[in-house]
């Protein structure tokens, strides 16, 4: 079963950067890496999503190696 942990909040960062950042990025003129700022901002958020999800995966795998989750079929009530 899924156990929420504090580091899972990291997953919100890129999404919030998109949803809350686009209204601001939309007003910025000029170019970064040859791209209009809005497009650059969105691509940066997309790449950040990959990085954050990879980091989360690594953290979760490390935690689970320390305390393995119940295997499928094992009753949920079996955990402390």
């Amino acid at each position: 079963m899924f156990r929420p942990r504090a580091h899972h909040l990291l997953a919100l960062l890129p999404s919030v950067a998109i949803l809350a950042g686009v209204p601001f990025a939309n007003g910025v003129r000029g170019y970064v890496l040859g791209l209009p700022f809005l497009l650059f901002w969105i691509l940066a958020c997309v790449i950040a999503t990959s990085a954050v999800m990879a980091l989360l995966g690594a953290l979760d795998r490390r935690n689970e190696a320390a305390a393995p989750p119940p295997t499928p079929g094992e009753p949920e009530s079996g955990r402390p």
Binding site: P14, P36, V46, I47, T49, M53, G57, E76
Partner: protein, 486 residues
């Protein structure tokens, strides 16, 4: 035979061969046919997801939106990125539950979690209603791509029939294994073709990306920012959010996650998929080049910008390769849609009338459903006229309505009742249908309200009504004793 047609034919034959051979060494039970024996590792789940998510709509529509609208097209990579972040959390519990209960379809998941065959049937009906127009969209795209890129040598009608026969052949034989192996070819082709186009074309016509953007900005000031009204910031944010929530509600995308061999595969996929989305950048570049190079494509013709520009810029051999990549963007998602819809018909509809049917029989029924569904889709593609258009737009909204009851069912016990889920779904889908067929927008309903509100995606209303009804009916029908046990 012209060079372009030769390349197109070669790739169709290659896909068919890969698709048919994909099942070698597997006893094709329902378990293998529908969900690949739940044995796919990280690489194959990635290839399959990339294969089915980036469709003709991405290839033609992505460049078409960039060409026709400019900045609003950027919503596509945004909702994808958020959807993959969500997938990290929702797919592992879905996968575990599906593996434990040997589920094969999304409707199975709802029926099992809510212990309600009626909900399963309702989800099955929604699924097939959304999948059929989506398949038709792929076939229409296939017809356009092949006829354009063969310089008219093959008519759209002939292209659709040829494509559908190849699809039926390898889907019937190999099921999801066929989709997975043709995905390998497709993902590589798309990557190579689209990245090359997105780099070479701006270089050739403008001397690079920034000079291109500057030239377009000069001709069309404000093209790379969201407008004040219409496709504005509030449209953008609401559409991104709604599409991100609906993304994994597509029955074929949902069911393809069952093919993973463990939950960690899906977590790794959540990290890899956003990066693959960068192909969209190059798709957009192609659309942008076309703005000043092939001007004058209006309305639905904007979707032809990539093809027209390619024909103008390259030799027939290269055009054939670009067309072949386009052909694969129709075949791979089309095959996955066929597998999913057939599985749903067998498991969630046929089995109601034949409760004693075992998996062996269901596998036979599912395979028999493939040519029937394919034929229906081909006829709709060729004779549906424009009646299909509202259905196409509706598909995404239809499946998005599954989100509230799905999210509430991720825990050990659903947080809603089956009556609540059914009532919410019915209300949400009715509103979606009314809005789609009636062409309802908030701006029409409330012309005096500020654009910040009226530009919101109307799907938000259906989803809110769905959630409210779900909550109210669930509270009214919740068994008291269950709450005491909690």
């Amino acid at each position: 035979m012209s060079p372009a047609l030769l390349v197109l034919a070669a790739f169709l034959a290659l896909s068919l061969g890969l698709g048919v051979l994909a099942q070698r060494g597997k006893a094709m039970s329902l378990e293998q046919w529908a969900v690949g024996g739940r044995g796919f590792g990280t690489l194959f789940v990635f290839l399959l997801t990339a294969g089915e998510v980036y469709t003709t709509f991405t290839f033609l529509g992505g460049s078409g939106w960039a060409y026709g609208h400019g900045a609003p097209a950027f919503y596509i990579p945004c909702y994808g990125a958020i959807a993959y972040a969500i997938s990290y959390f929702i797919l592992p519990p879905i996968w575990r539950y599906a593996a434990e209960h040997r589920l094969h379809s999304q409707a199975d998941f709802f029926a099992a979690k809510y212990r309600s065959p009626a909900l399963g049937v309702l989800v099955a009906v929604v699924s097939v209603s959304a999948l059929m127009p989506y398949l038709v969209l792929q076939l229409k795209g296939l017809g356009i791509i092949v006829s354009e890129m063969s310089y008219g040598a093959v008519s759209p009608v002939a292209a659709v029939w040829t494509g559908i026969i190849a699809l039926v052949a390898y889907v019937t034989v190999s099921g999801v294994h066929g989709s997975a192996w043709t995905s390998v070819l497709k993902d590589v082709m798309i990557l190579v073709v689209v990245v090359s186009l997105g780099v070479i074309l701006p270089q050739r016509y403008y001397g690079g990306w920034q000079p291109m953007f500057e030239a377009i900005e000069k001709a069309k000031p404000g093209f790379f920012a969201l407008p004040e009204r219409g496709l504005s910031v509030s449209w953008f944010v609401s559409t991104v959010l709604l599409s991100a929530v609906g993304f994994y509600m597509w029955p074929h995308t949902f069911a393809s996650t069952y093919t993973a061999k463990n939950a960690n595969v899906l977590r790794r996929n959540a990290a890899m998929m956003p990066l693959y989305q960068l192909v969209l950048l190059f798709v957009f570049m192609t659309g942008f080049v076309a703005v000043l190079q092939v001007p004058g494509l209006r309305g639905a013709d904007a979707d032809l910008s990539l093809l027209r520009l390619s024909k103008q810029a390259f030799s027939p051999w290269t055009v054939g390769f670009i067309g072949a990549a386009g052909l694969l963007t129709a075949l791979v998602p089309g095959s996955m849609i066929l597998v999913t819809a057939s599985t749903i018909l067998a498991k969630n509809v046929y089995r109601l009338f034949a409760p004693a049917a075992d998996d062996r029989r269901l596998a036979i029924v599912a395979r028999l459903a493939v040519p029937v569904l394919a034929l229906a889709a081909a006829l709709l593609t060729l004779h549906g006229g424009t009646a299909i258009v509202p259905l196409l737009l509706m598909g995404f909204s239809l499946v998005t309505q599954l989100a509230p009851s799905l999210f509430l069912a991720l825990g050990t016990r659903p947080l809603a009742t089956s009556a609540g889920a059914i009532a919410g779904l019915l209300v949400g889908e009715t509103i979606v249908a009314w809005m789609s067929f009636g062409g309802v927008t908030l701006a029409k309903l409330f012309p005096s309200w500020p654009p910040g509100v009226t530009d919101l995606n109307v799907g938000v209303i259906a989803l809110a009504a769905n959630g409210a009804v779900l909550a109210a009916v669930s509270l009214a029908t919740a068994p008291r004793r269950a709450r005491d046990i909690e």
